[in-house]
C-alpha cells in the first residue's frame, strides 16, 4: 500500500482502524438486541510529514470520528493508529502527555471552544502551563502565537474576554492556542463553518499559510470540497465509515473516479449563473448506519452498481495517482 517514493517514514499511519460504538441500552444488550454502529470501519492511510490532507464526506461518514481517533479523544476499537511510529492507543502517563503537546485539535465552534471566564491571555497560557513551560517564557510565546494568526495588535486583545471578540477573531485565538506548543500535527474539524463568508477567507488564509510556513502536518475535516481544495493538496473521501477515494485534490475535483465522489463533486454549487442543473448521479436517502448494505455500502445509491457490489466490499485499487475503493476500477481478470 506504500507509494514507493516516501521521503522518510510517515508521521501518521492508520491501519484498518475501526471505531465501533454499541447502540441500545443495557436491557437491549442483555436481550441480545444490541447492535453496533461502525462509525469508522477499516480505514487505512498514511500522512507524510508536512502534508495537508482533507477528510471529506457528509455527516455520519466517520470523518470526525477518524479525527478524534487521530488525536486520541477516542481509542480505536480495532486496527492501529500510529503517530511517529508509536501505537497511539497504548500511550499512557508521560508519553501521552508528550503526544498531547505534539498533536492538536481545532474545534468547529469558536464560540464554545473557549472558557468564557478566561481572558485571552489565560486561554493561551493554559496549554503552556499544562506543558510545564516556565512562566518567564509565557508572554513571549503568547505574543508569537498571536502574531502567527495575524492578530497583530496583541495588546488590544490580551485582557479581553471571549464574548468581546468577533467570530473571526475567536477562531484565530482558537488557532493560536492550538499552535502555541508548536505541534507537529493538527486536526482541524470544520474550523470555519460557523463564520461569515467575508471573515472566513481570512481565517482560511491564516490556517493555510501558518501550516505551510511551519511545516505542520494537517488533517482538515470538512463536508465542503471547495474549502478543502483551498487548503489541502490531497483529499480522502469517506462514505459510511470507509474510504472511497484518496488522491490529489485537484485531480479529484477535475476527474473524480468513485461514483460517490462523482456525485459529491457534481453537487457542489458554484457562484456563477451558468451551471449544470442535471440530476445528480446518486440515489436518494442515505442508508441506516446501524444496518448498512452488504458488500459496498454505497451500492444502493450507486447508478453503476452490479451483482458483485452486493457480495463483496471493494478493496483498494491504485488508479493513476489515486486509491479507489470500487469494483468498477479493479483490474479485469
Amino acid at each position: 500500500m506504500k507509494d514507493g517514493h516516501d521521503q522518510g517514514p510517515p508521521l501518521v499511519r492508520l491501519d484498518a482502524a475501526e471505531l465501533h460504538f454499541p447502540v441500545g441500552g443495557v436491557v437491549a444488550q442483555l436481550q441480545g438486541r444490541a447492535t453496533v454502529v461502525k462509525a469508522v470501519d477499516g480505514v487505512t492511510f498514511e500522512l507524510r510529514r508536512g502534508e495537508s490532507v482533507g477528510l471529506l464526506g457528509e455527516s455520519g461518514c466517520g470523518k470526525t470520528s477518524t479525527g478524534r481517533m487521530l488525536v486520541r479523544l477516542d481509542k480505536a476499537t480495532g486496527g492501529r493508529v500510529e503517530f511517529d511510529g508509536e501505537d497511539v492507543s497504548g500511550l499512557t502517563g508521560d508519553a501521552l502527555k508528550r503526544f498531547r503537546s505534539r498533536v492538536q485539535l481545532i474545534f468547529q465552534n469558536p464560540f464554545e471552544a473557549l472558557n468564557p471566564r478566561f481572558t485571552i491571555r489565560d486561554v493561551l497560557a493554559e496549554p503552556l502551563e499544562n506543558a510545564r513551560i516556565p512562566r518567564a517564557e509565557h508572554e513571549e510565546r503568547i505574543l508569537r502565537a498571536m502574531a502567527l494568526v495575524k492578530l497583530g495588535d496583541a495588546g488590544q486583545f490580551m485582557d479581553r474576554y471571549p464574548h468581546q471578540l468577533s467570530g473571526g477573531q475567536l477562531q484565530r485565538i482558537v488557532m493560536a492556542r492550538a499552535l502555541i506548543l508548536e505541534p507537529e500535527f493538527v486536526v482541524a474539524d470544520e474550523p470555519v463553518s460557523m463564520l461569515d463568508v467575508s471573515v472566513r477567507a481570512g481565517v482560511l488564509n491564516v490556517f493555510r499559510d501558518v501550516r505551510a510556513q511551519q511545516g505542520i502536518t494537517a488533517i482538515y475535516i470538512s463536508h465542503d470540497l471547495a474549502l478543502v481544495r483551498y487548503v489541502c493538496e490531497r483529499t480522502i473521501v469517506m462514505y459510511l465509515g470507509r474510504i472511497v477515494e484518496d488522491g490529489p485534490t485537484e485531480d479529484i475535483v477535475a476527474n473524480p473516479l468513485h461514483p460517490y465522489t462523482q456525485a459529491l463533486v457534481a453537487a457542489v454549487p458554484v457562484p456563477h449563473p451558468d451551471q449544470s442543473h442535471a440530476p445528480l448521479p446518486i440515489g436518494r436517502g442515505a442508508p441506516d448506519p446501524r444496518n448498512p448494505p452488504s458488500g459496498c455500502t454505497f451500492r444502493d445509491r450507486c447508478p453503476r452498481a452490479f451483482d458483485r457490489c452486493a457480495v463483496e466490499a471493494p478493496g483498494p485499487t491504485h488508479v493513476q495517482n489515486r486509491i479507489v475503493h470500487c469494483h468498477l476500477h479493479e483490474p479485469k481478470t
Partner: protein
C-alpha cells in the same frame, strides 16, 4: 412586467433593547414577481432573517415595524389585523425554517401535524386531508408510508422535506425559506434546491430564499437582494448581479467565496467586521470596510440608484462600477481599507 406578488416599500423594523431602539432593517424596498425565486443574501446580523420573518408578522416580542409597507396581493401585510394576518399565514404565505426539527412537534407523527394544518386551517375533511397529505409527500419525494413516522425518525434532509410539504399544504403563493439548506450536506442540499425550483416551475410559487451562500443564489434564484448592516445595498437579476456587481460589498463577497468551477485562486477576506447596529456609522455603513470609500461615503447615506435597468445599488460611486470591479478582483485592493 407583470404585477409583483409582493412589493416592499421603505420597510423598517426596530428592536427595543433597554431604552433604545436598534434599527435592524432600514428602508428596505424590493419586489417579488409571481413564480420567481428571490435570494435574500447577507451575513449574520444584516437583517435578512428579521426582514423575512416580518413578512409572516412573526417577530420577537421587542421588535416592531418602524415604518414602510409590504404590499402582498394588494394588501399591506404590516397594516393587517392579527385576525386577517392569521388568514394569510399558510394559505397565502408559508414559512420554512432553517431547522425543521425545531418547528415540528416531537410527540405527534408528521402525518398528524400535516392533517392538523389541512383540517383546521384548510377546512378539509379527514379523508380529503389524508389524500392531500399523501399527494404532498409524493411531491416532495417522501414515501407516503412515512406519514406515520415521528420527526426524530427522519434524517435532517428528510425533515426539511417534511417542512416543505407543510409549507405547501394549503397552496400558498409565497414561501419564505430561512436558510433552508444551510445545515444540510451538499447532496441533500442540491436535492432540496431542485425541489424548490420544481415547485416554482410546476406550481408557479414564489420563494424568498434567505441565505448567506452566493452559490445557492446562483443555483436557484432569479433575483438577488443583498443586505448589509440592515440596509439593502444591491438588488438585481441574479446573473447580472453576480457577474457584474455594482456595490463594493457584493464585489468583496464574490472574492471571499471559493469557486470549484474555476482554477484554484486566492480567497480575499473583507477586513473588519459589520458595524454594531446600536450605533451605526453615519453615511454608508460599508464605508469603514470599503477600499473605495471617499469622504462623502462617510457622511452621506447613498440611496438605491439604478445601475442598469432593474439592477440597483446603494453606492455613491455607481458610475465608476466597472473600474471598481476591475480593481476589486485584485487581492491587494482589500488589504488596507481607505
Amino acid at each position: 412586467m407583470t404585477q409583483p406578488l409582493l412589493t416592499l416599500k421603505d420597510l423598517s423594523i426596530a428592536y427595543r433593547v433597554g431604552d433604545q431602539d436598534t434599527i435592524a432593517v432600514e428602508g428596505a424596498s424590493f419586489d417579488v414577481q409571481p413564480g420567481s425565486i428571490v435570494g435574500l443574501v447577507g451575513e449574520s446580523g444584516c437583517g435578512k432573517t428579521t426582514l423575512a420573518r416580518s413578512l409572516t408578522r412573526v417577530l420577537a416580542g421587542n421588535a416592531r415595524i418602524a415604518g414602510g409597507e409590504a404590499i402582498f396581493d394588494g394588501r399591506d401585510i404590516m397594516a393587517l389585523s392579527e385576525r386577517a394576518m392569521n388568514g394569510l399565514r399558510w394559505r397565502e404565505i408559508a414559512f420554512i425554517p432553517q431547522s425543521a426539527m425545531n418547528s415540528l412537534d416531537p410527540v405527534y407523527t408528521v402525518g398528524t401535524q400535516l392533517a392538523e394544518v389541512l383540517i383546521r386551517r384548510g377546512g378539509l375533511g379527514r379523508t380529503a386531508a389524508r389524500t392531500r397529505a399523501e399527494e404532498l409527500f409524493e411531491w416532495v419525494g417522501i414515501e407516503t408510508n412515512r406519514l406515520g413516522d415521528y420527526p426524530h425518525q427522519f434524517s435532517g434532509g428528510m425533515r426539511q422535506r417534511v417542512a416543505i410539504a407543510l409549507a405547501l399544504a394549503l397552496d400558498p403563493k409565497l414561501i419564505i425559506a430561512d436558510e433552508p439548506v444551510t445545515a444540510l450536506d451538499v447532496i441533500v442540499q442540491r436535492q432540496i434546491l431542485d425541489q424548490l425550483r420544481e415547485l416554482k416551475e410546476r406550481l408557479g410559487i414564489s420563494v424568498i430564499l434567505v441565505t448567506h451562500d452566493i452559490s445557492v443564489v446562483a443555483y436557484v434564484c432569479d433575483r438577488v437582494v443583498v443586505m448589509y448592516a440592515g440596509r439593502v445595498v444591491e438588488t438585481g437579476p441574479m446573473a447580472a448581479t453576480l457577474t457584474a456587481p455594482a456595490h463594493p460589498y457584493t464585489m468583496g463577497l464574490r472574492n471571499a467565496f471559493p469557486d470549484l468551477a474555476s482554477a484554484a485562486g486566492e480567497l480575499t477576506p473583507i477586513e473588519g467586521a459589520p458595524p454594531d447596529l446600536a450605533s451605526p456609522p453615519p453615511g454608508c455603513r460599508f464605508a469603514p470596510r470599503c477600499p473605495f470609500a471617499e469622504a462623502r461615503c462617510r457622511t452621506d447615506v447613498p440611496g438605491l440608484d439604478v445601475y442598469d435597468g432593474d439592477h440597483l445599488a446603494a453606492c455613491h460611486r455607481i458610475p465608476e462600477a466597472e473600474t471598481l470591479r476591475a480593481r476589486a478582483v485584485v487581492s491587494e485592493t482589500w488589504e488596507a481599507p481607505a
